[in-house]
Structure formats: C-alpha cells, structure tokens
Symmetry: C2
Subunit: 264 residues, 2 copies
C-alpha cells in the first residue's frame, strides 16, 4: 500500500475536515484519536470506516490496532508523521487516527435505569469524563441535549476512554423532549444543583432515575430545573469553593451506584 | 507606573523562569495564572510578591484582583499582551499572572483526619483536581510524595481552584517517611487500588485515615501498598474499563465524607 505523504491528499483532507463540528454533522462521521480509543471502537464493533496510521515505527499498540482493523476488513492507510499530526488534535499524537460513522442511539432506545442527562454542558473533557464515570457507575445510558458540546468532539471521544462505544448515548435532543420522554416512562427526575434541596447522600437514587446536569458556569436553565421532582447537591466543606462538574457528577452517579447495590 | 512592553525585561524573565520546575525549586516561588486563582491566593493571604496584569482592557475580574493586590501593598506591574502571554501557560491567558512564595507545610503540620496521599502521581491536572475534591470533601490536609508532579506546576495550581491556598499540603516527602509519620500518629492507612480487597462502600473510612493513591499507569509501588492496613477499590461496571485517577479519588474521598457525616 502506498504511504500518503501529503497533507493535501483528498482522503486526508476529507478526514481532517471532521475536526470541525459542522463537517461532522454534515458527514455523520467523526474522528477517533490514539490506539487506546481506536481499539475500544474496534472491540465494541463501532462502524469504523478507515484507519490512518504512522507508516513506520508507530509502536506495538498501534501495530496491534492496525492488525485488528485489517482482520475486520477495514481500510488501513499508512501515512507520514506530518500527515498523522494534521489529523490528530492532541499535542502528542499517538500514531493512529480512525474515522467512524456515528454510534449514538435514539432517545427511545436509551434503556430505563440510571440515566444522566447533560444539558448545555460545554467542555468536551467534562462530557467525556462524565460519560466514563456514568459507564463505570452502571448507568443504563446517557443523554446529551442540543446546545451542548458535541459528543463527537475528539477530546470528548478520547476522554470517554471507550465508553462512547458501548454505553447507549442519545444526543442532540431538546431538553423538553427528554423530560417528556422520561415522564412518559415514569422515570423520576432529579436535578443536580450546587444549592440543591437534598444532600445526594440522603436522597433516594434507586429505581428508574434520571439525573440532570447543567452548564459549567450557569447550571441548569430554570425552566428545566423546574421540571425535576427534586434537586440534589453534593455537600461540600464551607471553605472549598465548589466541585467541578465532572467531579460532582462522579460523586452523584457513584452514590446512586452505592444505593442500588445495597438494594440488590 | 511604566508599562512593560518587552518580554526580555529582567523582571519578566525572572518570573517566566518559574514555568520550569528546576527554577521553582531554586527560587522557592511559583506562578499563579488567571484572576480566579490569583484572587483565591490573595483572599487566603498567600505570600504573593508580584502581580503582572494587562495594562489595559483586561476586564472587571482582573481589575478587581489588581485593586485587591494594591490594597495589600503588593507590587502590581502593568504589561502588554505579548508579555502577559509569555508568562501564562494556558492557551487563552486571562489577563493576570502572579508570583508567590511557596505555601506548603511540613508533614508534621498536616492535621490528623482524612488525609489523601499522592504517590508518584504524574498529571498536574489530576493533582489539582484531587486537591480540589479533597478540600471539598473535608480532608484535613494532603500529602504529595517526592517523585510526583510538582504541586506548583501552573496547571496543578490552576485546577486546584484555590484549594492549594487553604488546604494544608505537604510535598516532596519520601513515601516511607509519610508512612512512618502516619503510623506514629496512629492513623489508619488505606491504599486505593483497582483490584483492592474491599469495596470502598463497605470499608470503614471514619476516624483518622490516610488514603494512598498511586501513579496513573502503574498504581502504587508494591512496597508502599504493602504498608497499608487494607486496600480499597471503587467497584465498577464490568464493561467499563476503569475510572481515571481523579474520578476514583473523588469517589473515595466523598464516600469517606458520607460515612463521617453519618457519625457526627
């Protein structure tokens, strides 16, 4: 196979465009950076369409991922380092970038259970970290509303550490549509807020329950918070200023996991 | 006051050197980036020696911080945007960078209580995030061992969101010295490990307890883990691969906070 050495190669250009959300929306595809995330995508049978990899000296982790992709009949494209670097958004590219079709599901497909809902979350690292924590805490799925950072932002994909490929995630849904679908199913709705009425440690988080998390700076929009059955806070020490969103979500989702384990 | 417009100004050069750990060690000073962190430093009476700020159009948050610094008689140095940017390690500098003397304390000064101990943690974002969570969860203090990332790495300082300025933190202590000091005080030692013997949710984390956290990739050194009274894990869903270190530490420290609140 010929090594691609030009950043202006059509195939490379087509993939690089996916660094921008508008192109990801149009083409319904996204980028997966680094051997770890690409391996997770392959292991969980994500619809990977193409794998760009350093043509030489990429290291064992990349070699293994490329072998796995080849086994599955996925086109693997050897490229030079400058080409690989042009496709990867990190400071230290790890030798492989894949292109995949979207993996999200429709809202009606998200199973009932513990379901975090991210409303206008803006930081891709927070989205990825919450997705990873939600997965580890045994969530049934996750919802990202319209107006949030893109689920397919490369940093969000990377920091989800593979969870985006196996936890059912619905995206680009209006908050009102989410609330009415949750209500229709009889799922309790809990809003996370720094000044929430109940401590998360004394609030009942068992059974079918959705937890709404808002924007990093503004929190939840009033009209969304008003739809919740209750609001919960993570109690914090007075001198500490706050928790960041991903940390607060991690505490709440694992407290839900703790309560649910006690019941089973 | 004259606006400094040269990145080669002696005062600017002296501050910029503090971006490197070896200079921070030598000069026993460090940088604080952005109005939020500088304000926290001032509010908590950190020994700030100098404040560099955009000479014009820096915005209200920076103006407020500079006014506060002036009130306290701290020299404030107006600089041009290129000079400010040369002092700040972030992609989008927020208009103010301060220099401070160290704020850490001796190991013997860290109060007895809930005390996280970071052993060879490498990522400054993780260190800062754990420091912030430890503070919010009501820890008595925190210890960072020798061989870890620098407590005064600008990213660690920034992501601690002010906690570095008011939680007692001991640094640069050998793990063996930490363990023997903890033992001397009769503090129980718990090691966090992905394959820990006990679930954190059923392990007793009340009373004087230190929780050891290891390196992101390698975990705790065997000889350190062997010193612990028990090892605890955050139970995670089988399909999820792992939690990142900061998330695991947040779960463990807030579970300790939950248990301690029940007792009081």
């Amino acid at each position: 196979v010929a090594v691609i050495a030009s950043r202006d190669n059509q195939r490379v250009l087509a993939a690089r465009r996916l660094q921008l959300r508008k192109h990801r929306e149009r083409e319904r595809r996204f980028l997966i950076e680094g051997p770890h995330a690409v391996e997770e995508a392959l292991v969980w049978s994500a619809p990977v369409t193409e794998v760009f990899h350093l043509w030489d000296g990429a290291g064992r982790a990349v070699d293994r991922v490329v072998a796995l992709a080849r086994e599955r009949g996925i086109p693997c494209v050897p490229v030079t380092r400058p080409v690989l670097e042009s496709l990867d958004s990190t400071e230290t590219p790890q030798g492989v970038v894949a292109v995949s079709e979207r993996v999200d599901v429709g809202l009606e497909t998200v199973p009932t259970g513990l379901v975090p809902v991210l409303v206008e979350v803006q930081d891709p690292g927070n989205l990825g970290a919450i997705l990873r924590s939600a997965d580890a805490a045994g969530s049934a799925g996750l919802v990202v509303t319209a107006g949030s950072v893109d689920l397919y932002n490369p940093k969000a994909v990377r920091s989800s550490a593979g969870s985006v490929f196996h936890l059912p995630v619905a995206r680009d849904v209006r908050p009102e549509a989410v609330v009415s679908e949750l209500r229709r199913r009889g799922i309790r709705i809990v809003a996370a807020a720094a000044d929430g009425r109940e401590s998360v440690f004394t609030s009942n988080l068992t059974g079918p329950v959705a937890v709404l998390f808002g924007n990093e700076a503004r929190g939840l929009p009033d009209e969304v918070a008003a739809q919740a059955d209750t609001t919960v806070r993570v109690p914090i020490e007075a001198r500490a200023e706050s928790l960041n969103l991903a940390a607060a979500a991690t505490v709440i989702l694992f407290e839900a996991a703790r309560q649910r384990a006690l019941q089973s």
